[in-house]
Amino acid sequence: MAPAIQTFGLTKSYGPVLALDGLQLTVEQGDIFGFLGPNGAGKTTTIRLLLDFIRPSSGRAEILGHDTQTESLAVRRRVGYVPGDVSLYDSMTGEALLDLLNRLRGGDSLEQGRRLANRLDLALHRRIGDYSSGMRQKLALVAALMPQPELLVLDEPTKGLDPLVQQELYTILHEEQKRGCTVFLSSHNLPEVEKVCNRVGIVRKGKLVAVEEVEAIKHKKVRMLELTFSRPVAREDLVMEGVEIRSLDGNHAQLAVLGHVPDILRRLVELPIEDFEFPEATLEDTFMKFYDEGGER
């Protein structure tokens, strides 16, 4: 069985700017693969190359065994896509757009589209121009899912969705996986990738720096912890294995926790903690530090 996605030294440069540098990536069929990286890392460039919107400077890619350039139509017959910035025909209703896309695929999946829209609580009779950004995102998701593709390529798919709809989308993606669909999901949101993906590729400055199982990533994850003490504590009190002191200012400390959590908690409990907080860490904070440009540190 051909991999869902395979790239061979895929490179894209715009003049002097190297947007993607020799990407070697394999996504097996049936995976929910998270493509993780900060903004500008090359995620969208990769997706646009896979869908043949842009052409590589060198290298090539295959989707489900088809060359993405020479067999682009065959690829698009089997792929559903949600772009990072959803743009739709504002003068159409949601229903009319789904009907158009259904006809373009020569399919009979409109009813499936209506079911999905209903599930995501999306009113199809309204003009797209009157939709909120969340509704547009939902419609784009419905359009991508409607033909029951073999590969779903989703570029930041939860942008603009409220948490309940996000949760529903994760459920749908797992259902799609059970159906046999592969999901390629680009994101800069690690918790999202953890929730939904089973494998993760990490891209940084146009280079793939790691491909890991999600479980492995979880063990490498940095957690941020902010502590407020009832009295000032000494730096030495916070020195322990697996803890990096980011800041210490009298009664207040910010820690990056990398080690075995139970051991650390046992040590912390001895300190005069008044309050604690787990601020949301940035992707760079949480785990980019594990990877340098050449690979794992």
Partner: protein, 271 residues
């Protein structure tokens, strides 16, 4: 399945097309209806006294008989008041439609939506161009019919087959203009830049034609202009179409469309 693209785009384009049809149709109707009141002896005298070069710029040969019976001939009136610039009107429509076709989709981001579906870029382009072919044909037909209707309300008529041939010739020029407008649209993926390029080229063609018609020693320049092959007075009077003109306009339309397809096929669609 690609017919869906055609139908959808025809629908998207309905208001623009309708506005052009109503606007140009109304103007044509007015020209037809005003033949007797404005095209009287004074107008005949005015045309007659025009310098030959100015007459030539309207496609009037110095030997063309201006009057029919006791007044200005209908064909001279229709040509000088409307048809001599009819091809320019159609060309503007072609520039407006052609330059926006692909570029506006790219600017709005909807090109991603379409091109992520199993439809080839060339196929998409051709269906879009077919929307122009159909809407401009309707515009041309509506123009001819409203001219005839305008004349009819004052009890006048003209040779309808000859008028249809004249409008057909203007439509051919528009197809050629649309061809390179589509090519610029694909090349720049920017409506403004494409419109500037196509507008400039069309203006240059028109200016070359005027110069070639009015300055005899550079009349050869006319061969470089699409408008040179639009001869409304001659077609209205004789019903003869220039096969070279058909070949040139058709050739430019097909060649430019092929170029547009190649450009569109090869270029990156950036966000």
């Amino acid at each position: 399945m690609s017919l869906a693209v055609f139908r959808a785009n025809l629908w998207f384009h309905r208001y623009t097309a309708l506005a052009w049809i109503v606007g140009v149709g109304f103007l044509a109707f007015l020209v037809g209806a005003l033949y007797r009141s404005a095209g009287g002896p004074d107008y005949l005298k005015l045309i007659d006294q025009m310098p030959d070069a100015l007459k030539a710029s309207m496609g009037l040969d110095p030997n063309t008989p201006l009057s029919a019976g006791d007044g200005l001939s209908v064909s001279i009136w229709l040509n000088t008041q409307f048809l001599s610039y009819g091809a320019v009107l159609f060309a503007i429509y072609a520039v407006v439609h052609g330059t926006a076709a692909i570029a506006r989709e790219a600017e709005k981001g909807t090109l991603d939506l379409v091109l992520s579906q199993p439809i080839g870029r060339s196929q998409f382009l051709l269906w879009r161009e077919l929307v122009f072919v159909v809407s401009s044909a309707v515009l041309a037909l509506a123009t001819a019919l409203t001219l005839v209707a305008g004349l009819a309300v004052i009890g006048e008529t003209t040779n309808i087959p000859y008028l249809l041939l004249t409008v057909f010739q203007a439509w051919l020029v528009a197809l050629a203009v649309a061809g390179y407008s589509f090519a610029f649209s694909c090349l720049f993926l920017s409506t403004a830049k494409a419109a500037a390029a196509a507008g400039l080229l069309t203006t240059a063609f028109y200016a070359i034609d005027i110069v070639a018609r009015t300055v005899e020693r550079v009349s050869w320049l006319g061969n470089l202009s699409l408008f040179h092959f639009y001869e409304p007075q001659h077609v209205l009077d004789t019903g003869e179409l220039s096969w070279i003109g058909i070949a040139v306009c058709g050739g430019v339309a097909i060649g430019a469309t092929a170029a547009a397809a190649v450009i569109f096929q090869r270029r990156d669609i950036l966000t």
